[in-house]
């Protein structure tokens, strides 16, 4: 019926250390009972019935001062400064308040007495002091009297000046006495909380107002002020409960039963001392009259448990806290120290009892954050082992971020607790630390549980994704939650996935189409390359139109063009050709559109070639010649387009397959294949065209005529053409007459009469030539004879140089002189700069002759050239003759020296 009780403190009775001036010796003095006890600022303060004030800075370091003649009845330790306020009597019925300054000690070590104020009620009434309290500003003090009056004393407590005393509360009911006081500062207002034996009041000393907070009161020593952990509340203890107050009114109340002796506050703990043994009811304690048995309880108000409880045989004088511990002082002089366990120890205790929620609260209140995760984990494990999976998962969720998720996931997978697992995974996602596996698992849970709502929520989750989107889409898709997969794909712009689902799973081509139409250029392009084939099958018209847009100027649907889009994107139409298998008609439409749009010649030849192929295929399917003509016309027009480029070989093959005559010829011509053109006409026995081709291209390829000749000669009906052909051959000397005759001789159909004019003409020409040649021969022979004689003469007879003058300076010759066989003579000096071996006047002519000889000899070695010339020449004989003349057959090393010059010197 009450809070749980723990043992978070270790108790120890402090036994006498053998020092004479010790705390124990003080307590064990006979007849000098300790009357009051307080602490703060690292020291304990005691007043005794002999009028002495003892200040302990440690248990063996005591400063005792005689403060009153008769007795000390109350002590109050200021916190901010080492100042102690006492109430006591020098003579009976004359209580005096004294202020002791322990910061200023005399040489003898006695504290300075700062002030001494008679504790009188201003109106002169006399009453004993029950309680005293001072404001930390050291300018305000409150004194509570036995008749219920409360008086404030204003003025600097450190200086002995006149002070103003004022009654702030008085009682009309006899027998009511003041039992507790406490100051609180609320902003700039000073508030005094008062407890009497039958009520609680709050007095605003600044606004001078008084409010009765409660009409129940408490005994002396049974009120206290809490610290910040409970918002500086005022607390009173009554036998049925303890009540908390703010300056405004009541706060919480706890039914801690028992007749209270003392109420104290220590660092978040409320300490109460009650009559009777622990656990016994108040009534029982009262009945037994056991006034010498008391129970001390330490309550943790925030976490709602009893941190410690102990029953003592003996009367408790006070419980104070100093030097990090709690001390219980008993009337018989015993001193018990309570030492608090550290947080870790406390938590371990709680774990042992499986009191995890309490442990969590405790750790939180002590800011023991490092340990919290561990508690959550242990608590989770505990609940799990008890089969409380709901509870366990709640704890595990709190560990997210610290505890390895796989630990939890495995546990719940093992137990097949999908709901719990789902909660956990959801929390992981919320915290943004879920990985792809977690996402997969979560979605699998949803789908397994058929939890459409959760799936919906997952998909529509508005913040940035805390999961791997691709995985999520994949999982939804696999589980046949296509709508969800689709929504995810759309939301996170996974276009590829979107289309895949829409086309393969949902078969909603219209939507896919619309979706692509709204994509940016790059995305649309990629999508069409991937899905175009499928879309073409389903929606050929729309798809073709979309592709047309894509390859000309793309603008996502529903988007108004912005200035930066002025340069439109366009895709290479060649990329899409293969999509159109089985869609010849649409491919035709598509390609025609491209060709008519892209007029600047930036289309690849595959576009034209493909379109041509399509056209030609249609030709093949034509039924009437008219139809065929029209189709052929169209194909030819395509080929003739200014911007058209073709893969010629491919196009040719196509044209040949489909026997597209004008096309083939066009292509031959384009490719410069005149032979083929001729061949083509020949095969088709189109004599006129053969003729025309020769005429048109004969200049570029003279061989055409030759072929035409042999062709015509093989046709009986072509006699008429032969003369014309021969005429061309003759004019351009394309063939030696012998070959012409040979060719015609091979023909079955040519007769001699056909070529008679040709032969006659040639024989005539030959004769003329022979006559001309014979004349030349005669001429050369004469000349040769003359030269031979000259040579003979030079070789056999002496030469007489008769020149009298130098051929250069035209002056009379004198020795030394040089004579050349050419009959030129020179002064040797005049020849100085010249070549001495050659006549300066004749050498130029000599050199020319020498050069000719040399060149002839050189070319004689070039067999290649000889052969080719021989082949090319219509008259091989003349070539051979020419080479013979050049000395092809001479011995090497023939004429090297300039044999025409002879040197002779006259000494």
């Amino acid at each position: 019926m009450s809070w749980r009780i723990f043992k978070f403190f270790e108790s120890e009775e402090l036994k006498d250390p053998d020092s004479t001036n010790s705390f124990h010796s003080l307590l064990s003095r006979p007849n000098c009972g300790i009357t009051c006890f307080t602490c703060g600022r690292g020291q304990m303060v005691l007043g005794d019935s002999q009028g002495s004030l003892h200040v302990l800075t440690s248990f063996s370091d005591i400063l005792s001062t005689s403060a009153y003649l008769l007795r000390v009845s109350l002590v109050y330790q200021m916190r901010q400064r080492n100042v102690i306020i006492t109430v006591g009597d020098d003579e009976d019925l004359m209580p005096i308040i004294r202020v002791w300054n322990y910061e200023k000690l005399t040489k003898e070590g006695i504290p300075t007495l700062s002030r001494s104020i008679p504790a009188l009620i201003p109106n002169g009434r006399q009453s004993s002091v029950m309680v005293v309290c001072a404001h930390e500003s050291m300018t305000l003090m409150a004194v509570g009297f036995k008749d219920g009056t409360v008086v404030t004393v204003r003025g600097n407590l450190m200086r002995d000046r006149l002070s103003t005393m004022k009654v702030v509360h008085s009682e009309s009911t006899p027998g009511v006495y003041a039992t507790g006081l406490g100051f609180r500062q609320v902003k700039n207002r000073t508030i005094l909380l008062i407890s009497t034996s039958d009520a609680v009041y709050t007095v605003d000393l600044t606004l001078k107002t008084e409010t009765k907070l409660d009409s129940i009161g408490c005994e002396l020593g049974c009120s206290t002020m809490t610290d910040h952990t409970q918002d500086y509340k005022f607390v009173i203890a009554r036998s049925e409960a303890v009540y908390f107050y703010t300056p405004e009114g009541r706060a919480q109340a706890f039914a801690f039963e028992g007749e209270k002796v003392l109420l104290r506050w220590y660092r978040g703990y409320l300490i109460s001392v009650v009559y009777g043994a622990r656990g016994s009811s108040a009534r029982a304690a009262a009945k037994s009259g056991a006034k010498d048995v008391m129970t001390v309880s330490v309550y943790d108000i925030q976490n709602q448990f009893v941190a410690y409880q102990m029953t003592l045989n003996g009367r408790v004088v006070d419980v104070v806290s100093e030097w990090g511990s709690l001390y219980i002082l008993l009337r018989d002089g015993r001193l018990i120290r309570l030492e608090e366990n550290d947080t870790k120890t406390k938590l371990e205790t709680l774990f042992k009892k499986n009191l995890y929620p309490t442990a969590i609260n405790l750790a939180r209140s002590q800011s023991y954050n490092d340990g919290l995760i561990d508690i959550f984990t242990q608590y989770g494990d505990h609940l799990y082992s008890k089969g409380d999976f709901d509870g366990a998962i709640e704890q595990y969720i709190l560990t997210i971020g610290k505890l390895e998720p796989s630990y939890v996931i495995r546990k719940f997978l093992d137990a097949q607790r999908i709901h719990n697992l789902t909660d956990y995974l959801k929390a992981l996602h919320k915290k943004g630390i879920a990985n792809a596996d977690h996402t997969t698992l979560l979605l699998n849970c949803y789908t397994k549980l058929r939890d459409i709502d959760q799936l919906d929520a997952f998909v529509t989750e508005s913040h940035s994704p805390t999961f791997d989107v691709s995985t999520a889409i994949h999982v939804c898709r696999q589980a046949n939650y296509h709508r969800h997969a689709l929504a995810l794909a759309k939301k996170y712009k996974k276009h590829d996935s979107y289309l895949l689902i829409q086309l393969e799973d949902l078969h909603d081509c219209d939507d896919a189409m619309e979706y692509i139409a709204r994509l940016k250029f790059r995305d649309a392009e990629a999508s069409m390359i991937k899905y175009g084939k499928l879309l073409l099958t389903e929606l050929p018209d729309d798809t073709t139109r979309l592709l047309q847009n894509l390859c000309t100027d793309w603008l996502p649907r529903g988007q108004t063009p912005r200035p930066e889009d002025v340069v439109p994107d366009w895709s290479d139409p060649a990329l899409y050709i293969e999509l159109f298998v089985n869609h010849r008609h649409h491919l035709t439409v598509f390609l025609e559109h491209q060709i008519s749009t892209h007029t600047s010649g930036n289309l690849r030849d595959v576009i034209f070639t493909t379109l041509l192929e399509l056209y030609l295929a249609e030709i093949g399917a034509c039924r009437t010649p008219e139809e065929r003509t029209a189709k052929e016309k169209r194909a030819l027009e395509l080929m003739q387009r200014k911007n058209a480029t073709f893969d010629l070989d491919h196009a040719l093959v196509l044209a040949q397959i489909h026997d597209f005559k004008s096309g083939i010829l066009f292509l031959y011509e384009k490719a410069g294949l005149f032979q083929q053109i001729l061949q083509y006409h020949m095969e088709h026995n189109d004599y006129q065209s053969v003729m025309a081709t020769c005429k048109r291209h004969g200049r570029k390829d003279p061989n055409l005529w030759v072929q035409a000749l042999s062709f015509f000669s093989s046709r009986r009906e072509c006699k008429g053409q032969i003369p014309e052909v021969l005429q061309h051959i003759d004019e351009d000397q394309l063939m030696p007459p012998l070959m012409v005759i040979q060719t015609l001789a091979d023909s079955q159909f040519s007769t001699l009469s056909d070529i008679k004019p040709y032969i006659v003409k040639h024989l005539q020409k030959e004769n003329e030539q022979i006559a001309k040649d014979e004349q030349s021969i005669r001429q050369y022979r004469d000349e040769t004879g003359r030269i031979r004689e000259n040579v003979k003469e030079l070789q056999t007879s002496a030469k007489i140089f008769q020149m009298m003058k130098c051929s250069l300076c035209r002056r009379g010759l004198s020795l030394p002189a040089i004579h050349f066989l050419c009959k030129h003579s020179f002064h040797q000096d005049c020849l100085q700069d010249e070549l001495e071996h050659e006549c300066p006047l004749c050498y130029r002519d000599n050199r020319k002759v020498l050069d000719i000889i040399q060149r002839q000899e050189q070319t004689a070695g070039l067999h290649e050239q000889f052969h080719s010339q021989l082949q090319r020449s219509p008259d091989g004989f003349s070539v051979v003759a020419e080479y013979f003349g050049r000395g092809v057959f001479n011995k090497r090393s023939s004429s090297k020296s300039p044999g025409s010059s002879v040197e002779q010197r006259k000494a």
Binding site: M1, S2, W3, R184, Q185, V186, K187, R189, I191, T202, D204, L207, K208, T209, E210, T211, H228, D231, Y232, E240, A241, V242, T246, P247, E248, R250, A251, Q252, A253, F254, A255, F256, Q304, P357, G391, E394
Partner: protein, 214 residues
């Protein structure tokens, strides 16, 4: 934080019906699975907003156990609203409503708005009191009715806020005298018109440097 009005609430009903949990859910948005018996009176506070006005709810959570009645009863006084809670999974808590209602009517102001709460609506499988029964009890005694779950937080906000709306309406209608604190309503500091000598003119405050909890 400043407010226009402060409404005082009490939560009453048998032990274990979830009074403390309802308060915790409303103030801290948490749920406490273990039953921490309330052994006196505790309180919490939260700001809400009605009609653009900041309203501070000061909520007194009382112990449901019979033995604490003498202590808790004294806290009924001056409450503007009460949440009378029963547990839909325990019929006896529903049957005790009459005695709680009597207690409340006797110790609090006549105008107090009482909201009847059937708690633990999440435990549908263990239900012992139907919603219709709850509703007809409420009608009979002129109460507002609602089923809640302190665990899932279902209807928890609504329970507290609707009560406040009801009170606020009564203020607008002039039924409540806002200057009389015995009605459990207090005007916010900046709305006060009374002189400095008027009792209770003390603002809730803390020592300098202290953060507030309510």
């Amino acid at each position: 934080m400043s407010y226009s009005y402060l409404f005082k609430y009490i939560i009453i009903g048998d032990t274990g019906v979830g009074k403390s949990c309802l308060l915790l859910q409303f103030t801290d948005k948490r749920f406490q699975p273990v039953h921490d018996l309330t052994i006196g009176v505790e309180f919490g506070a939260r700001m809400i907003n009605i009609d653009g006005k900041q309203i501070k709810l000061q909520i007194w959570d009382t112990a449901g156990q019979e033995s604490f009645r003498s202590i808790t009863r004294s806290y009924y006084r001056g409450a503007a609203g009460a949440l009378l809670v029963y547990d839909i999974t325990r019929r006896e808590t529903f049957e005790h409503l009459t005695s709680w209602l009597e207690d409340a009517r006797q110790h609090s102001s006549a105008n107090m708005v009482i909201m009847l709460i059937g708690n633990k609506s999440d435990l549908e499988a263990k239900r012992e009191v139907t919603a219709e029964e709850g509703l007809s009890f409420a009608k009979e005694h002129a109460l507002v009715f609602m089923e809640t779950s302190a665990k899932t937080a279902a209807n928890v906000e609504e329970a507290f806020i609707n009560t406040a709306k009801e009170i606020y309406q009564k203020i607008q209608d002039g039924i409540f005298d806002v200057t009389n604190e015995a009605n459990g309503i207090k005007l916010g500091p900046q709305y006060q018109t009374g002189g400095p000598s008027r009792p209770g003119a003390i603002d809730s405050g803390k020592p300098p440097g202290q953060g507030g909890c309510c």
